[in-house]
Symmetry: D2
Subunit: 390 residues, 4 copies
């Protein structure tokens, strides 16, 4: 084994074009790969600090546009053109088709029902008895804990502390609102301050850790689906029978039945989602708009629900219980990312719930379109026509 090579880094202007090129040259020398494209970007150096280390260039992910998506939300109202960054052929076309049908159906109603971001420390005690006592103390001292948590952040607000226990462990799940940011860092900092205050005021703590996998950050979980992580947002529409029949070349009853079967499939397979492919829309909008794409893990959880109305139309809804989005902070201010947010009118302050509504509405369009394609048996042929011959 030769001596370990070190990636070139500059203490002073590491984000400059010079040092990005130095690193590209290093990678070329080490790996033999030619790098003609990753160095081709339009971001300004100064924007990158805080978003990346060892920067050497960019991934260029193609964006297709779908729309107009008609949304009747509380924050998003009217028509939107949705940028979808993906490399899966057919995807933009499929969402676009769903948007067209739901436009004809009068648009998608959207509702943000809850809003919470978590950090979940665990406190360890000699036995379950002391853990229980501690839990009571935490509830009684919520106001003081909140003071110390909230003092660390301008926008984060501690809403409450869920408590869970097992063995001699007391798990605390701190719930915050975080303004227009996704807020994972904000709540980490706030909860650390809270824990330090707790640790110095409550005697007998054997040990604590700032995170216990109860957040559950970057991991889908039932606790997130039950208690919300990020935004809990529902998109709903009632689609006239004729539109469904035109889409699926089948009756509303048949379209409904595949929903039932798919729900049973999800339940039996232990899936976090009884819908079809929420992850597609979510990943594509996340990449385009500078969201933390790793959050697709938890954001893609979904609860789909369909009913046949009294007059034979098709009510369809999807609830995203843990959609993590930001209109500020993270990658939202980067060059292409901010442009995509601006296309949606979702850049900056007081825009995060609007973005959540648009994403949920987009997801519903995709659920409808793919469900219709499965019933109509057009799913494979569409991919044949529009996708790569993979």
């Amino acid at each position: 084994m030769p001596a370990r090579k070190t990636i070139p880094r500059s203490k002073d202007d590491d984000y400059s074009e010079l040092w990005a090129r130095n690193r590209r040259d290093f990678v070329v020398a080490q790996t033999g790969a030619q790098l003609n494209h990753v160095g081709h970007y339009s971001a300004l150096d100064s924007e990158l600090q805080g978003n990346i280390e060892n920067f050497l260039g960019v991934a260029q992910v193609p964006i297709g546009i779908a729309g107009p998506l008609l949304v009747n939300g509380e924050y998003a109202q009217g028509e939107f053109f949705v940028p979808l960054a993906t490399t899966e052929g057919t995807l933009v076309a499929s969402y676009n088709r769903g948007m067209k049908i739901l436009h004809q159906a009068g648009g998608v109603k959207t509702t943000v029902s809850d809003d919470a971001m978590q950090r979940a420390p665990v406190f360890i005690f000699p036995s379950a008895r002391e853990a229980r006592q501690f839990g009571l103390w935490v509830s009684a001292h919520f106001d003081e804990i909140k003071v110390h948590a909230d003092a660390t952040t301008r926008t984060g607000k501690l809403k409450g502390i869920e408590q869970y226990s097992a063995s001699r462990f007391q798990f605390l799940r701190f719930d915050y609102t975080t303004g227009d940011a996704a807020g994972q860092n904000m709540v980490g900092k706030a909860t650390m301050a809270a824990c330090e205050w707790i640790d110095s005021h409550y005697p007998g703590i054997e040990q604590y850790y700032l995170e216990s996998n109860f957040a559950t950050d970057k991991k889908t979980s039932l606790v997130n689906m039950l208690h919300t992580r990020g935004k809990r947002v529902t998109a709903e529409a009632t689609i006239p029978k004729q539109l469904i029949e035109g889409l699926a070349h089948a009756s509303v009853d048949e379209v409904f039945r595949i929903r039932q079967v798919a729900t049973m499939g999800s339940m039996l397979s232990g899936a976090n989602n009884n819908g079809a492919h929420s992850a597609n829309a979510i990943a594509a909008v996340f990449i385009a708009t500078g969201q933390d794409v790793a959050n697709v893990a938890e954001s893609s959880a979904a609860i789909a629900h369909a009913e046949i109305t009294a007059n034979g139309d098709y009510y369809y809804s999807v609830t995203l219980p843990s959609l993590i989005v930001a209109s500020h902070g993270g990658g939202t201010a980067l060059a292409t990312q901010s442009e995509c947010l601006k296309m949606l009118g979702c850049f900056g302050s007081d825009k995060v719930k609007k973005l959540a509504e648009i994403i949920a509405a987009t997801v519903l369009c995709g659920e409808l379109s793919l469900g219709g394609a499965i019933v109509a048996r057009e799913w494979v042929s569409s991919h044949e026509r529009l996708g790569r011959n993979r």
Copy 2:
């Protein structure tokens, strides 16, 4: 409501720069957003067909490089520099730190244990009794079904058909190998051919659907964790006690204990992952290398396992049971994406398992680094130092 505006499209050269610009102009006109950056890209027109529709430009996602990652795999052997496309500050630095420690520990051993891609149709019968009979018939006619499935694809091979039943439904989960492609389209086409053959040869099927949410495509599930979707890959290392203590400013016992607590947290919270943040590495490599990023939903499932060895060192492993990767097809041939694959020596034929090994090794480095930061209470301060002040 004004008349619905239609996105400009060309029948003939829709992927040309002209029509991309037409669409950007349309979006600018419709939304008022200025688009100075999304149109800045180096991809050739011809490459995009099959990966996107209504193309208007690209998302530029910053790439940082981490490494060298030392891998002792069956396919990946030696040092690698891993491109991570992310906008989460601290992330590249954290993975890089883990890579350094595991390099000192002698590298990461990787093993691909299984390989499977699914499509899961459901067949509906008048009652459970006919469903059961059908299941027996499918088992007895596997060879013929395989002939019809395999005939549709050059690289896909039907390995077997899992069967699940409830009520009057028989769920079939077709398992394929798909060569260097992720294979979702391939297996859709093959399974459709199989279903059509079945439908024309087995009497009494009331209805069937090509997908039943048992695949479970773009959704994490226990069935995928049990039976593999994509690659099942394990990364392992034994880390000398001194390295652990240096990392965590704490004993191996304490580092081990947080693993135990986190496992309990995951179990109780109903998470699909008892590790820390596999989704971070996976999403970042997926974006960089042209993978289908929506698959982060299922690919981020993970089983972490730690032990203290007889001489007090720390054995650590992570198993990714449903990592969906490709070295061919999908977005892998695009401009920056193929460059990133080439950096890893993972572009093209017979490279997909190598890529799976590199990703799993990268995940393990991140698990180690973040776990150490939590124990050392450096987690928040690192984000303060390197991340955006979110």
Copy 3:
């Protein structure tokens, strides 16, 4: 602390009435409780050996009879009177009501779709790579493993070995048929023989354990719901619209809707059952007929499914994926237990699937009855009328 008192035991005739009384006297002396009833039983001494240790008497659990239950099974055909041992007031009345309605509807169709009992050892290796190799070897040597497993038992037959892996562990889930016995002991013995043979023929096993919580014995799990533990049995019926309306004082649509809502409730709450109360029938029949009542844990898992038929009637089914029953062995030959089995024509050889069908049919009756009571808002008032004023 006084010296630990020892429960009186006899080496020679520990199951005699004398020693049962000795133990009752001991308990009376130790605890001050008067024991006038537990010593009142009709079991013969000799029958108890193998079913209990430190015998001192019996629990007298009241049995109510429900029926006639009309079953159109493959093994159970015609009318049955079902003994339900319970102390929950209203329960027998509720099942009885469901049986009456489903009798009017033409009876319950039942189907046993699968039959399997498990033991799940784990084999540990230095790394995932050796674990994978071992897995391939096990598949290649199934026939020899089967010879050694089957040699230990007259009725048990090894059907197959499921394999699951994570880290450096290879989990093997041995599936057997076990004749008319529940078979947990039989498969333990057979699998131990298989493991010893494997251990002596495969080099490099670091350690193995006969059970790994993959069976999953006395624990409900998704693996049991997917792959069957005990019998997988479905009960189905199509109930004329008029009967539903009479039961629920509501339309079929409304009865259907509560099924949908309950399925969503189960999915979100992470339940192993989207039905109402399968555990009630199962526990009551299990106690009456000498089943291992601890198996209610896994046997109570259920998948309910309802549809509105084309002519407006109500199709209703329940699938019990892991119903563990015996018509031979265990407590089935005890005094009252064998009588209850005989009431059902289910005592002894070749009767176990008949018993499974009767239980599933009973469960369906209870699902219908309770569902109707919830819609009709009679649920609480029934318990007021028939239950204890608890």
Copy 4:
């Protein structure tokens, strides 16, 4: 099909010996079974009303005694002799062995951490937006809702209302304390009163149902494990190294490792329990003491946790998050059942937490004993020696 036979019933003295015999005679006539034992019981007629309908006799379930169990609880203190009603040979002996070891280790510490019984109605609205508004109203009107719920019961107290939402449904999970009763009926009645009040005071409710499968009654679920159903009780002990080695013929390290492997097995198999066989103790005590045995479904959920202490001893705990018990009401006052409760000093008022502690301590003894048997490879041989040759 012959005319449906009706089970004989009396309007006036249905619980008399006469009518029990009439029903036995009827069953004998209908089925041909001889009933010499089920009619052999000592319960008084009057006691049965409210616990059973169509009474015809009893199941005699053998009881073995295990002990002394040494408990250091808050409610249970000292030595107990535990009646276990079971037909599984080896079971009493195995629990007894565990009790002996934990007696030597100084006994079992027990803690009841939480106490709650639920009923979970669902309210349906035209869209998610109205559902959200309703949820806020419920929170704001908790005090009034509590007045109406609590007015229906002497001992039940509404503690709080959890809220969950999806689509246009608002799920309310009412949490009560219920004194010494299990309380399922009590909370049904109270919640019905609350719902009626809500329904008459909140306009715009489309429909509501008293239960939505969020309780989750007679069904194990993650929501019950997270938020407690019945009692949340932990049993813990630290067992000296020598005792572990004597039990398992193996090192503490090895005993610990099988815990780790079993936890992984449970996690991967999707079990509600990472321990061994809590259901055995729970079912056996439930039958003996007149608990609602169907509740084994949810009561058997368990979280096991082990650690090796600094000086090499073995810390072991089990938490039962949803143990449903009563010392009053239900079947607790029946003849043999009340005697068994009295053996434990758990009959009547203010005894329910004591009973919960004893059961949890018993479970821990069984976990230790079976774990030791698996490591020592004595598990199968014990069943050979003590069990039926099944």
